[in-house]
């Protein structure tokens, strides 16, 4: 590559004409990118735009088909993550590369190149996590931690390597506003220390707030490089998706008095030493209502979802009521038969079987509730693949799921497209009750607004919806009422129009004593 001269100036990392071809798909097509030292550089793009492919090549987990990478003006071939780390590149993955059976400290030790004792690492990690405001117990097992806590491990372990360039893939999607603010302080600190950050995000306002420059990708090609602070969110979004993003409209359907989901003083003990117990949760969702449940990761969100969906049952049937029936002791399928639909948090391994095709995944979720459509009668219950195919094609069309091939395996779809399919799978049944946990986690702006609009449309058509989310923008966008989950206790739901960010922040911090209760009554 002697004919290609690196650019002048203080470039930390420069990429020229980087291309990656998978079969017939050009995932990256001649990408140019410059990251100067001392800057926070944004990488923007929709799902499947090629951002992940690009950073994987920068981090050495994928080999470029052609093109050249320069590190500090010298051409380099990055062939392994170890080599990337040795150069001074650290990476926080979107799909965490954590080991569930190991402790936090052991996970961190694995990514350290020098041999340090586990105890030493635990100590360092504890110090660093305090310093950057990312609280972590080094001896906890990852299996017991929430998504948000797992991300902290990723960030702390990258920081421990003392890198010159840190790549962050969708870092704030699981953080509260306060946590995100702290992260931005961390990033500012990192920049002040003379390091650079490559910041991948779908959140345009965030990029505008903290990034010095931005590079935008679409369909594997470069569509723009700009200073995000000189752009508007709409102009950035246009570069990303090629057309104006459809904003979510919340006309507000008629809310009737009919209660479709109800819990009465629902308590559930913690199942593991690290899980959260639910404390007298009172929840009422009426027809046409969307309740947004906000809260910091690990405050009982997954426990609440499990109890509502029937993954965990409770002894008293009337503790949980769906459409007027006490379902406390019923399983998931029985609750589905009553007209409920569920979308759990983890896409892979929980909402979908990664190695199975989309249509197979649909049968897995709905074989019981829609048996008459998808299965033949008689004792054998043979799957009617023609009906299954028709239904999954309908979902793909309705939700605009982009994929390669006719019926690909779930793992081949990007996160946002798989999520659209999973949500669409439930919506296709027109459920009268829908409970979703983190519906747009790690999903790009286009897909997220599509999913949110679908939730709103469902409520308007006369269903009750519960949205558990750590994304406050999302909650404000879709919810008619908002409640906050803190250490397993749920605050009283208040109309979204009365809620402010500050008030939610306070409730998240657990300040809902007598004063706030009085306040809430005044608000009504």
């Amino acid at each position: 590559m002697t004919d290609q001269q690196p650019g002048h100036g203080n470039c930390l990392l420069e990429v020229r004409g980087l291309t990656k071809v998978f079969g017939e798909l050009r995932a990256n097509d001649g990408i140019d990118l410059e990251i100067k030292s001392n800057e926070i550089h944004a990488l923007l793009g929709e799902n499947g735009a090629g951002k992940s492919t690009l950073v994987k090549m920068l981090f050495g987990s994928l080999e470029p088909t052609s093109g050249q990478i320069f590190w500090k003006d010298k051409p380099v071939r990055i062939t392994s993550p170890g080599q990337a780390r040795a150069l001074g590149i650290g990476m926080v993955f979107q799909h965490f590369s954590l080991f569930e059976a190991l402790t936090v400290a052991e996970n961190i030790a694995l990514s350290m190149d020098q041999d340090v004792s586990i105890e030493g690492i635990a100590e360092q990690a504890a110090v660093l996590s305090r310093e950057y405001g990312l609280p972590l117990d080094p001896h906890a097992h990852v299996a017991d931690l929430s998504v948000g806590e797992r991300q902290r491990i990723e960030i702390v372990r990258t920081l421990l390597q003392n890198p010159e360039l840190i790549i962050l893939d969708e870092p704030t999607s699981v953080l509260t506003p306060q946590e995100a603010d702290r992260l931005f302080e961390t990033l500012a600190k990192i920049r002040a220390e003379g390091r650079s950050v490559l910041y991948i995000s779908h959140r345009l306002e965030e990029v505008q707030r903290i990034c010095d420059r931005a590079t935008v990708l679409r369909h594997g090609k470069l569509t723009g490089a700009c200073d995000p602070r000189l752009e508007t969110p709409a102009s950035l979004a246009t570069m990303m998706v090629g057309s104006e993003v459809k904003s979510v409209s919340n006309a507000g359907g008629a809310i009737t008095d009919e209660i479709l989901i109800e819990t009465r003083n629902l308590s559930a003990p913690a199942r593991t030493p690290f899980a959260v117990s639910l404390k007298e949760v009172n929840l009422k969702v009426r027809r046409g209502e969307i309740i947004g449940i906000a809260g910091v990761a690990g405050n009982g969100q997954s426990e609440l979802f499990d109890v509502l969906s029937g993954e965990e049952t409770v002894p008293d049937p009337d503790d949980v009521r769906i459409c007027g029936t006490g379902v406390g002791r019923m399983g998931i399928s029985a609750r589905r038969l009553l007209g409920a639909g569920f979308v759990p948090e983890e896409r892979h391994g929980h909402a979908a079987v990664s190695d199975m095709t989309l249509s197979q995944n649909m049968v897995l979720a709905r074989h019981h509730s829609d048996a008459d459509v998808f299965l033949t009668g008689g004792p054998l219950k043979i799957i009617r693949y023609d009906a299954v195919k028709k239904a999954s094609e309908r979902i793909v069309r309705e939700m605009d799921v982009r994929m390669s091939g006719e019926d690909p395996v779930a793992s081949s779809l990007s996160g946002g497209n798989l999520q659209k399919f999973i949500v669409g799978r439930e919506l296709d049944r027109q459920p009268s009750v829908l409970i979703v946990n983190q519906p747009t986690w790690g999903v790009d702006a286009g897909a997220a607004s599509r999913i949110r609009q679908a939730l709103i449309d469902l409520a308007e058509s006369g269903s009750a919806v519960v949205v558990i989310s750590q994304d406050l923008d999302e909650i404000f966008e879709v919810a008619t009422s908002i409640a906050v989950l803190n250490e397993g206790a749920l605050s009283e739901a208040e109309p979204a129009s009365m809620m402010t960010l500050e008030r939610i922040g306070l409730l998240m911090g657990g300040i809902h004593g007598e004063d706030t209760k009085v306040e809430a009554q005044h608000a009504h």
Partner: protein
């Protein structure tokens, strides 16, 4: 030697091959590979150890050759499943069948020969402790190795960096690869260690337990060892306890038969498997226990995506 001492001594002799084979398989499974060929590797180790001891006249050389044979045999499994990405279950079963057949062929001319027995090594002072001295410190080398291997493997898995990497690979080979850990190389080494352990277990059978060669002399011990790893929920110290428990059951079954107890011997033979099923049920009931204890990528083939 009292009767109790004699019985305890037979238990240690019966437990040692189970312990060795299981501790080897534990390392293999911790790395995420399921090698069902333990039975085959044991029997190959037994016949090669016996033959080498007969030909050289040295039981120690015999044991060494047994180990090497088990290791070499496991290399075949490693090549098929790790390099050629064949299905691990099918390949492991094939390895067992191949081992049983091949050992019969190799050992044909040795059937009925009187073998060389591995000497006992009395450890000075310790062996003269009353009661346990003779039992624990006047044993053959393979016994000492088997006990040492438990603590060695435990230390390796939980205290060393390589052990941590091996556990990480067993938990999620994709993530381990993303971190730059060499999945295939580590698994090769683990499988070979498992093979060497199984080979040594076989050598114990034909050089200590019954110093002669009989066809199929592994007699299902490979399967017990496999069950033992699950029984012990992939923990070395529990393997030690389990091996001695299963060893005691084996011996108890013989004595029960001799004394004419009412318990059918088939029931006692089935006991290790029954115990394993119970442990599996307990682990599987709790998602957290499963995540903590089971190597999550066990039995899955790994193909790096580049």
């Amino acid at each position: 030697m009292t009767l109790a001492e004699a019985i305890l001594l037979t238990i240690t002799t019966a437990a040692t091959p189970l312990l060795l084979a299981a501790i080897g398989e534990l390392v293999v499974e911790r790395s995420g590979v399921l090698n069902l060929g333990v039975e085959g590797m044991i029997v190959i180790g037994a016949v090669v150890a016996f033959a080498a001891a007969q030909l050289t006249g040295s039981a120690y050389l015999g044991a060494l050759f047994g180990m090497a044979a088990g290791c070499l045999f496991s290399l075949l499994f490693a090549f098929l499943t790790l390099t050629l990405v064949a299905n691990q279950v099918a390949t492991g079963l094939a390895l067992t069948i191949l081992g049983l057949g091949l050992s019969g062929m190799i050992g044909e001319s040795f059937v009925g020969q009187r073998g060389v027995q591995l000497d006992e090594i009395a450890i000075p002072f310790l062996s003269s402790i009353p009661l346990i001295g003779n039992l624990l410190f006047n044993q053959d080398l393979i016994f000492y190795v088997s006990i040492f291997s438990v603590f060695g493997v435990s230390w390796f898995l939980f205290k060393t960096r390589l052990g941590l990497q091996l556990r990480a690979i067993g938990d999620s080979h994709g993530s381990a690869h993303a971190l730059g850990i060499s999945v295939i190389k580590t698994r090769y080494l683990a499988v070979m260690f498992g093979g060497a352990c199984a080979g040594l277990a076989g050598a114990q059978l034909s050089l200590v337990y019954t110093p002669q060669w009989v066809e199929n002399m592994s007699a299902g011990r490979g399967w017990i060892a496999l069950a033992l790893v699950v029984f012990a929920s992939w923990r070395p110290l529990r393997v030690l306890a389990g091996a001695y428990l299963f060893g005691a059951v084996t011996i108890g079954q013989l004595h029960a038969q001799a004394l004419g107890f009412g318990i059918p011997s088939q029931f006692l033979s089935a006991l290790p498997y029954l115990a394993t099923i119970i442990v599996l049920v307990i682990i599987s009931r709790n998602r957290r226990l499963t995540l903590m204890n089971t190597p999550a990528s066990l039995g899955q083939s790994f193909v790096p995506d580049r």
